[in-house]
């Protein structure tokens, strides 16, 4: 019995390492293809529209509500210490450094990531990728690269919009509803937020953008060409992206503190 368990464990470790290796090779291929893909920027712009513009509404709505919740919770907490005037700086720092990049990445994985994975999976299942191969058109260059770059470009932009709307939401609750002084709200924010804080958020959102887009295109491109295979690729995209984002967030925060 223990021998069977050890064998199973060894097999699952081998499979995990194999998948990680395959991810690394695929990522290296995408990095190599990036300069060439940027020459056909029209294709990338199309994908920025698909991954970014079409995720705008969900990102803005979520940003607004997250900001409003931060406004409520922050006000309640700060009021206990008599420092409700700091609400602006607390919400802005929370959104810029953490919530903006992380929540946007999770939303991105759920909306754009699944769309990318299922689109590529269906293209494989319906022989569209094989047809390109036979037409001497490299599907990684023509289909995968624009989608990957579209995601990488969209993510930081969406995170920035999320944080901006979030701050507006917090202001709406804190200033308009709870009566925090508007001047204090904005001036405390300006005083507390430094350039490094903004850059931390930008760096995180770029890293999350690369991670989520890589997972989505990898899973879609390598999906089993059946209905079940495409479904599984879509699920794996959400699960792997979400866990990766949270893991990377911890690592980046630990490094940048």
């Amino acid at each position: 019995m223990p021998a069977a368990m050890i064998r199973e464990l060894a097999e699952s470790i081998r499979e995990t390492l194999e998948t990680l290796g395959s991810y690394a090779l695929f990522a290296a291929r995408l990095a190599r293809e990036t300069p060439r893909a940027l020459w056909r920027f029209g294709l990338v712009v199309e994908q920025v529209h698909n991954a970014g513009a079409l995720s705008l509404v969900i990102t803005m709505l979520s940003g607004l509500f997250v900001g409003m919740v931060l406004g409520l919770q922050g006000f309640d907490l700060l009021q206990r210490f008599g420092s409700e005037d700091s609400l602006g700086s607390v919400t802005a720092l929370s959104l810029l450094k953490e919530l903006g990049p992380v929540v946007t990445a999770l939303l991105f994985a759920g909306r754009a990531g699944t769309a990318l994975a299922s689109e590529l999976g269906l293209m494989r299942a319906t022989d569209q990728l094989a047809a390109m191969e036979v037409m001497a058109v490299d599907p990684v260059r023509r289909v995968v690269m624009p989608r990957f770059l579209g995601g990488v470009i969209s993510m930081p932009l969406l995170a920035a919009i999320f944080s901006m709307i979030g701050v507006y939401g917090a202001q709406l609750i804190g200033v308009q509803l709870m009566g925090v002084d508007s001047g204090q709200f904005w001036s405390q924010m300006r005083g507390a937020v430094e350039f490094d804080d903004v850059m931390e958020g930008v760096l995180k959102s770029v890293v999350f953008g690369v991670a989520c887009s890589l997972v989505a295109v990898y899973e879609g491109y390598h999906s089993v060409p059946t209905a079940e295979g495409v479904g599984r690729a879509t699920t794996r995209t959400v699960v792997i992206s979400s866990v990766s984002v949270l893991l990377l967030d911890y690592m980046l925060t630990a490094v940048m503190l």
């Binding site: 269906l122 293209m123 319906t126 022989d127 569209q128 094989a130 047809a131 191969e133 036979v134 037409m135 001497a136 058109v137 490299d138 023509r142």
Partner: protein, 273 residues
């Protein structure tokens, strides 16, 4: 010497001692095939006999375990990735499910290979696309999306896309599957007409015996990893060989058994689980 030269010019695809296995399952165990230039050659065989695999080996999508596949005198297994892509530019392929790009309309689907491989001015692209659409009778459907096409129309659009780069070799993978009799007749006529008017070589993989007999100059019959018959369709269908007869006349039982291998029926019925 002379026969060697004749063979070089007369055969576009040459297969020698081809072995291929998918995992443990042996698909081909040493087959030899010639596809003469300018002819319509059919590859037939029961489902699972490796017809589509053979096409994938010829187009370089799969690598043979052993043996030689030569396309226009070049050994496919020795070509680099870019070499395979160069070879494929001389080929067109019609997929079983048409494989049209679903986010592009009919016009853009046909223009796709031109736009990817050339810097042709738009006016010329339009001219070429409309010419090919006219050849398959779908000039009026240029702005329809793939989802708006019937199965037969989609197959014809895919055919127009396959010939848009003026290939030397056109490969059809099960071109008649799922077509109504009218669409089937249209596709049949197109295969013959395009082959003759564009001086192509066509390889048609199918198990539709009657349709193939009407269009092919010669056919090869695949079964059990071997070529069991070759020659003009009429001659092959009159073969007295048992396995050839079973396939050509659609007999339900014979060398290819009706039953999938299983334990004794009575024993299995008697078992509790």
């Amino acid at each position: 010497m002379n026969s060697e030269v004749r063979r070089e010019t007369g055969v576009i695809v040459r297969v020698r001692d081809l072995h291929y296995a998918a995992g443990r399952r042996v698909i081909f165990s040493g087959i030899d095939l010639d596809f003469p230039r300018g002819a319509v050659t059919a590859v037939m065989g029961p489902s699972g006999s490796g017809k589509t695999t053979l096409l994938r080996l010829i187009t370089g999508q799969l690598r043979a375990s052993r043996g030689l596949i030569e396309v226009e005198g070049k050994d496919v297994s020795e070509l680099s990735r870019s070499g395979i892509y160069r070879m494929r530019r001389r080929m067109g392929m019609l997929f079983q499910n048409s494989a049209l790009l679903t986010d592009l309309d009919v016009y853009e689907n046909i223009a796709f290979p031109i736009r990817e491989h050339t810097k042709m001015p738009e006016r010329l692209v339009r001219h070429v696309v409309l010419t090919k659409l006219q050849a398959v009778g779908l000039r009026g459907a240029a702005r329809l999306m793939p989802a708006e096409l019937s199965g037969g129309m989609a197959r014809r659009v895919a055919l127009a896309r396959a010939i848009v780069m003026d290939p030397a070799l056109l490969i059809y993978d099960e071109p008649f599957v799922g077509l109504d009799p009218i669409s089937m007749g249209v596709v049949l006529r197109l295969i013959r007409r395009l082959n003759d008017t564009l001086s192509l070589t066509s390889i048609v993989v199918s198990h539709d015996v009657r349709e193939i007999a009407a269009v092919a100059d010669c056919c090869h019959l695949l079964s059990g990893g071997q070529i069991i018959a070759s020659g003009p369709p009429a001659a092959v269908s009159q073969s007295s060989q048992e396995d050839v007869r079973q396939f050509m006349h659609g007999l339900p039982d014979g060398p290819v058994p009706f039953h999938y291998p299983a334990p004794e029926y009575a024993d299995q019925i008697r078992q509790v689980r």
